[in-house]
Amino acid sequence: MGRERIVNAALAVLLLGVPLWAHWAGEPFTITLATRAAILALAGVGLNLALGTGGLVSLGHAVFFGLGGYAMGILAHHAQTFTPLPLWDLPGTKSMPVIWLVAITGGALMAALIGALSLRSSGVYFIMLTLAFGQMCFYFAVSSPTYGGEDGLSIWVRNGFPGLNTLDPLQFFLLAYAVLMAVIWAMARIKASPFGLALAAARQSPARLDAVGARPFRLRLVAFVISGAVTALAGALFADLNRFVSPSMLSWQTSGELIVIVVLGGVARLYGPVAGAILLVTLEHYLGGISEYWQIALGAALLAVVLFARGGLIGALAGRPVAHD
């Protein structure tokens, strides 16, 4: 654990330090990049519970990311147009805590539904089912002209958080960073809990789990629900960062990118998604500045990681995972 802890701490400090420096140096765009990395990392942390610990290769996590985004978009849209929500005669809201709560609940419910249908299968079937359900939600979003259809929804002003000025890039970054750290801490607890052990064991040896009287399906479903809820929360923050949500947040490419974030950083590593998100955003920014075809380089890097460096960035820095305690 020793070396991985040091790497984790370094990542946490790096992600905090860069925007603080950028604030001092007067480079708000760098703060925005760091915020983007923190939010993508949060989405990856959600996915990592299912993908890393649970071994559930979901190629449909963009559903939850996009759902969180639309929770933000729809609530804020009704608030800014002073129209009530359909179905319930309630006003929209510009309050982040409320939006987050809706996103988390929606993500959890959607994950329960998709999980209940997909987790009965495994392996390739599971991958293809999550992909297909993701695509289904994508088309559904494209089809809803009320909320912008293909063009998506814009909001005029970023939503508010009590006691903070979210329009200030640094304050919004710190909010996202705090959420990320809180969720990582909670994930560490979950991973070390009896549930976390059982989930990891269900990946490594389902027969053993049966033999101790537990049913892998239920464990996986709960993990999938937690995973979906966290990714939805990240989606709400991501949409707030951009003040925009569109079906592209639900696309299968987004699902692929979320997996890339987890794997670039290190599958099943607590800070893997943080490393992966920092790496992805940095590559995107710098390579994207050099050539518009930067994704060729991203693809090549990804291939190299898959074929030759399977532990991802944290694996390269901290060596093989060491069991804790």
Binding site: L51, V57, L59, L117, R120, S121, G123, V124, Y125, I127, M128, L129, L131, A132, F133, Q135, M136, Y139, F140, V142, S143, S144, P145, G149, W252, Q253, G256, I259, V260, V263, V267, Y293, W294, Q295, I296, L298, G299, A300, L302, L303, V305, V306, L307, R310
Partner: protein, 305 residues
């Protein structure tokens, strides 16, 4: 709704279905024989379309264009099999998903770099242009009929290949027991390259044929790829027959949905929105079909449980 329109839509569904089959056959073969999930199959479709569009542009010959599509996709398939894919057979699905996702990024951006972001167009050749009068007085595009015929011919050819040739016996043996055919002295890595190139060629052919109906552009492969996944999940992964039945089911469901959903939606949401809402719900219909099939048969229609 008239019978003529109904029959026309039936043919449209059939045409879409056989195109999906060309994609799905390769995917399901590659999964059945090598145990590989290949997200980059859509890129091979795209490569076929681009090869056809460029060769048609240079030579003006549609047949040459089709041959170029087959050759380019098969060559690209063999190349990526030898360089990347064969390192993935022994890996878990996550590695396969990621590596083939990486291939999509490389192939898509590479194609954009070579051809630019503007779509290319592939013209239907003169000898296939225009409608043909079918029994019952239906005027139906000659080209689409030809596409259906090509698709059915390929399906027949594949069935013959699998059931009646030495290669087919080896492919079936490879599905059943990899160690066994290696022990029998079959050069397994050559067999795998061959199967992968065959699947790629079929995808390339599909891309070229569709390229004359839609525009040829980067990213055209992935929506088709996902539908092909739906097809093989419905049909049962690894089964060519399942891919065929699944492809026709999906093709017909999708087409029927696109035609009838807007009509069904009109009283609900009004004429203006019926088209958008209806077509989106039509795309959802396929997934509902898939969910229903899997509820009844978790391993697909022809899958081994």
């Amino acid at each position: 709704m008239s019978t003529v329109l109904l029959l026309e839509q039936l043919l449209n569904g059939l045409q879409f279905g056989v195109m999906l089959f060309l994609m799905a056959a390769g995917l399901t073969l590659i999964f059945g024989v090598m145990g590989l999930i290949n997200l980059a199959h859509g890129s091979l479709y795209m490569i076929g379309a681009f090869a056809a569009a460029s060769v048609a542009g240079f030579t003006g010959s549609f047949l040459l264009a089709l041959m170029a599509a087959l050759a380019a996709a098969a060559a690209a398939g063999a190349l990526i099999e030898v360089t990347v894919i064969r390192r993935l057979y022994a890996r878990d699905h996550l590695d396969q998903v990621l590596a083939t996702f990486a291939l999509i990024l490389i192939l898509s951006e590479g194609t954009r770099w070579l051809f630019g972001s503007f779509p290319l167009y592939l013209d239907v050749p003169a000898w296939l242009a225009g409608p043909v009068r079918l029994p019952g007085g239906i005027d139906y595009p000659r080209y689409r009929l030809a596409v259906i015929a090509v698709g059915l011919a390929v399906a027949g050819g594949l069935a013959w290949l699998i059931a009646g040739t030495r290669l087919g016996i080896r492919i079936r043996a490879g599905e059943a027991d990899r160690e066994m055919i290696a022990a029998l002295g079959v050069d397994i890595s050559r067999l795998y390259t061959l199967v992968f190139a065959l699947g790629a060629a079929l995808a390339g052919l599909a891309g070229a044929l569709v390229g004359a109906i839609q525009s040829v552009q980067v990213g055209m492969g992935e929506p088709v790829l996902i539908l092909a996944f739906v097809v093989i999940v419905i049909g049962g992964i690894g089964s060519i027959r399942g891919a065929f039945v699944g492809a026709l089911l999906v093709g017909l469901t999708d087409t029927a949905g696109r035609v009838f959903m807007p009509i069904l939606m009109q009283p609900l949401v009004g004429q203006q929105q019926a088209a958008t809402v209806g077509s989106a719900l039509a795309s959802v219909a396929i997934y509902v079909l898939m969910a229903l099939v899997l509820l009844v048969r978790p391993a697909g229609l022809y899958g081994r449980a």
